[in-house]
Amino acid sequence: MRRATSTSATLEAPLLKVRELTCSFGPGCSYCADRDAILERNMCPRCGTIHALRQVSLDVYPGEIIGIVGESGSGKSTLMRCICFDQQPSSGSVTTGLVENGTVDLLACSPQQKRAIRNTIFGMVYQNPWLGLRMDFSALSNIAEQMIASGNRKVEEMRTRGLSLLEQVNIPLRRASDPPREFSGGMQQRVQIAKALSNNPPILLLDEVTTGLDLSVQAKVLDLILRLRRDLDVSMVVVSHDLAVIRMLAQRTSVMLDGKVIEQGLTDQILEDPQERYTQQLVHSLL
């Protein structure tokens, strides 16, 4: 028996479209308003405005993991924060076919709509678990909180779902009632992932989720991410400064420098035939 659908399938549309996202901190001036202005890294030499993101565009397709690499300060985390409404960008748009068939710019939605989208379409996992978890609530309550935010009021259902998610991310169920502040860094990240998955979001945003973890714990988190993509078919945007992480997870990769995407392509092409000077430096730094 052989495949029946692969030959007739057409390539699907992007699940998430980010277009010309720009995020600046400062007053701006006529000089840096020009998109071709030469900045000192990402700072305007005339007015001192920091241009954290400059016309960043990105497509995320169903079931794919896309990697974003770049050094600290390149704009990776700002990009993630803008997509999930933690940070208001200066301009640009974010659309998804899951909301009004992609005709609505999510960034222009009302705060209530944004909260609903954030709770049901995006799952965000931060580098610092303190940003994503309530450290004094139990692990189970953290998950329930996310489900309550999306309108669920059925206690038993939330409890069952919470336990199932904790099991999926390999948290011993005897620890379900313990607060994450008593967990190791790797366990905290896995509770964050369980919380992010609580409402079955089709898009997971993972910001440096393995940074600071020791190698064996890092391996467990990476294996978990791959398993979730395989089993749940979740699309993911994975931000990392670690090319080894990107190599393992992502099919396509964008390289960021000073707020801009300077290069994008298939991950193996980026790693083996990097075109830009910075990307070559990055690849040659790979241990």
């Binding site: 028996m1 052989r2 692969s6 390539l11 393992m248 298939l266 083996e272």
Partner: protein, 234 residues
Amino acid sequence: MNALLRIEGLSKSFYLHEAGRTICGCRDIDISVMPGEFVGITGRSGSGKSTIQRSIYRTNLPHAGAIWYDSMQFGLLDLTKASERQMIHLRRFEIGYISQFLKALPRTTAYDTVLQSALDSSPEGGLEWARAETERLLRHFNLAEDLWGLYPLTFSGGEKLRLNIAAAMIKEPRLLLLDEPTASLDNSSKLKVRELIEQLKQGGCTMLGIFHDLEFMEGLCDREFNMHEGFMVA
């Protein structure tokens, strides 16, 4: 009959920013591969053989020329201009790549490496079908059953190669790229690879292979090209 693959005037060079130098990969390459044919490319290390293969697979970005591939999904497509999504689709369903190096996920057993490849290319086949195919291919390529549950990191070169081939072949690729699969293998392992290639050929698989070893190629290829310093010389 139309060629499955037609390379026209392919050139690829690598610019190294730090060194300020351009390295020539290959220049003005023209090759056609007909369906079911096994075309071999020979040449010394650094002659540009792998650059051609990697340009087809888009691990390298060609600078000039065209690589026409007759895709089941997209029709006649220039791989140098195909989108990343198209290339991902082709890699998943139509074009296989086998090198001497094993590209397996860490902490994944030999069995799961092949199983995942089956599920990836034919998700509609289901787990039961994928398991049966995995076991059939692992047996077919003589990978001892007591190795199936182990991580391939510890395998010998020959075992890794057979696993590589099983993972690639389970996808039933229309075009198989063989990138020096016999390099670093001993003679008995080379013979096994030769047998495998003969089997693939009998099965009608279209292949473009590059090899150091001229003796190995003898009697195996339908046509053969030789490369020297980035150019096709014969």
